[in-house]
């Protein structure tokens, strides 16, 4: 699917998709960490606001979630995991370019 290679997915969407696939989550005793569990897999993560492709691959592998469901949460069968006003962020062509170098202040 085009765009998946560089797409980042908001944490709320990732967690909602995981929940829709039977992954349970609860706060860890260690501050900031959340435990995700399914089928005797227990993993604690402090997911950043935007989750990138490699981390999504890990979650897919650990919890058996199809990778495309993170990018298209409406495809999750029997669930509407996408919270209101949250959408998958895909960089536009203009944003994919590196930012221009800052100009030196004139002396």
């Amino acid at each position: 699917m085009a765009g998946q290679g560089t797409a980042r997915v908001p944490r709320e969407v990732v967690i909602a998709v995981l929940h829709a696939h039977g992954v349970e989550s609860y706060p860890s005793e260690i501050a900031g960490q959340t435990v995700f569990t399914k089928n005797e897999v227990y993993e604690a993560y402090d997911l950043p606001e935007l989750v990138t492709r490699r981390m999504l691959d890990v979650l897919k592998r650990k919890f058996d979630v199809p990778i495309h469901h993170f990018f298209n949460p409406q495809m999750v069968p029997g669930a509407s995991p996408l919270p209101a006003n949250v959408s998958v962020i895909r960089p536009k062509a203009s944003q994919a370019q590196p930012p221009p170098a800052a100009k030196k202040p004139a002396n």
Partner: protein, 140 residues
């Protein structure tokens, strides 16, 4: 004659197998203060993913994502500690955690020329989890 036999028997000894000094190690022990878990020389590959940093353990299949190298190292360390604690609490040991990353992960990361390798070691202390407590009525 006997010296020849002795020399022959010396030669036929199997070579000693020694683990490399930088081999990854893990230990789990109980103390009066709690359970001690040590992880040593774990190989972790760091790579840039989009504008974030990604860390993948090789001898232990655990990963983390962060905004910088320092951030991802901190998240990896804290997350691994929290995962260890959960395994001790639920399973009473680490046998399910001490699994190497699958071959496709090694291949994928080693083929990435931007990957930085690092060694990670940590020791953590965890409370003793009592598990199920049984209460029986006292004999009359």
């Amino acid at each position: 004659m006997s010296s020849k036999i002795a020399a022959k028997s010396k030669r036929s000894r199997p070579p000693k197998l020694k683990a490399p000094k930088d081999h990854a190690v893990a230990f789990h022990g109980n103390t009066a203060e709690g359970q001690v878990v040590g992880i040593g020389n774990l190989r972790v590959l760091l790579t840039q993913d989009d504008d974030a940093w990604f860390a993948q353990g090789l001898e232990i299949d655990y990963a983390a994502q962060g905004s910088s190298i320092e951030d991802v190292q901190h998240r990896f360390e804290t997350g691994l500690e929290a995962t260890i604690r959960e395994h001790l609490k639920v399973f009473g040991g680490l046998s399910r955690l001490l699994k190497v990353a699958p071959p496709e992960v090694w291949q994928d990361l080693f083929s990435d020329v931007t990957v930085i390798g690092m060694r990670h070691s940590q020791v953590s202390l965890h409370p003793v989890f009592s598990g199920v407590m049984y209460f029986a009525p006292k004999a009359a």
